[in-house]
Amino acid sequence: MPGNGEGRLISLALRCYPQAWRARHGDEARELAALLAEDGVPLRSIVWNYFKGATRAQLVQTRMIGRLRTGVAALVTATSLAAVSLLVSVLPAPAGAASVVRADITSRARAAAQLAAVFESHHFDIGVEQLPVSPSLVGSILATKTSGDSTGNNGILGRISGTCAGGAGICTQGLLLASHFSGHLVVLVGRVAKPGEKYAESADVFRPGEPLAGSTLLGRTVEAAVPMLDRLHVDVLWEVFGNKTCTASAPDDSYQLTGGFAISTVSICLEAAPSPRAAMGRRG
């Protein structure tokens, strides 16, 4: 059996899971950890595996609609959710699962129409609204919203994840709904933006499918990046480290590109921060 300190580590890892998960599996998971420890499985391996599982569980629960603005976020998301997402996105509806309605997006170009058809066929009071989005989010569900005093979200049993357009990142590609769902809901779906149109939602600009995918700009200094950016013929704004807004003011040449997102089909906002070397130099 794990000792007190070890038990605390297990408890800490389990506390990272969503409440609903802990209510269902918590006691058994604690006991399972003890049994595995008795079998000689290293405690650090058990704890680490629970931490990874908790990350995955939390991410699955979270709506993956926000911008994945850092490479780290994208990496964590991709590694922890890939299996879940791909699995859920390709599987048919559970056999005999009459109480669950599954609405998948199988064609990004027809995403809104596909969802609307499913909702209509089940007489759901669910509308579909399309919003202009950056390329990798086209054909994905961005969010769901209720109106008035509706309790619409209570009818959503789960979100089906899949890869985003471009082949990377995790996007919501469908919904699992209770068949008795009677609330009012609006599902926001990403569509291709018109030329110059501002995006309502945008993904990391370096993600596959996005304007700077495949470029070698990430991590470069501003001085090195600017000439390359000039060749892209897009308006570039800057979100300088510590400043939450995008402006036309270019940062110091020594700053490094740390991320970014597309604002519209013709403009992007790049994040820049002092390079670690420069920052250390300043501190010294």
Partner: protein
Amino acid sequence: MVLRKSEPDGVGHDVLRRAGDASVLILTSLAEGPKHGYALIQDVRRFSGVQLGPGTLYGALDRLELLGMIEALATDARRQPYRITSAGTAALGEHLDALERISSVGRTRLGFAGA
């Protein structure tokens, strides 16, 4: 009507194709009969040599249950047993067929045909 994703020609209906090893191992174990988490880990280690981590196990169980491939059995005990459903059985069968086809091609190309 529920929409489905269509598979590319020639791929068949191996819905576990990209499901991850843990899901396949768990379904294979449950094909023998219902088991709870610890028994699953022990069985998987026995027949495959793979040590499933507990976090991996629960993640896969939750996914498989959501997808209707396994179901939790009623119990008063702390340990929750699961059993494979007909959908899970069918999916596992398709997946094993696909693996067999790949194995056959691989053996042939390695010159082990008929071995």
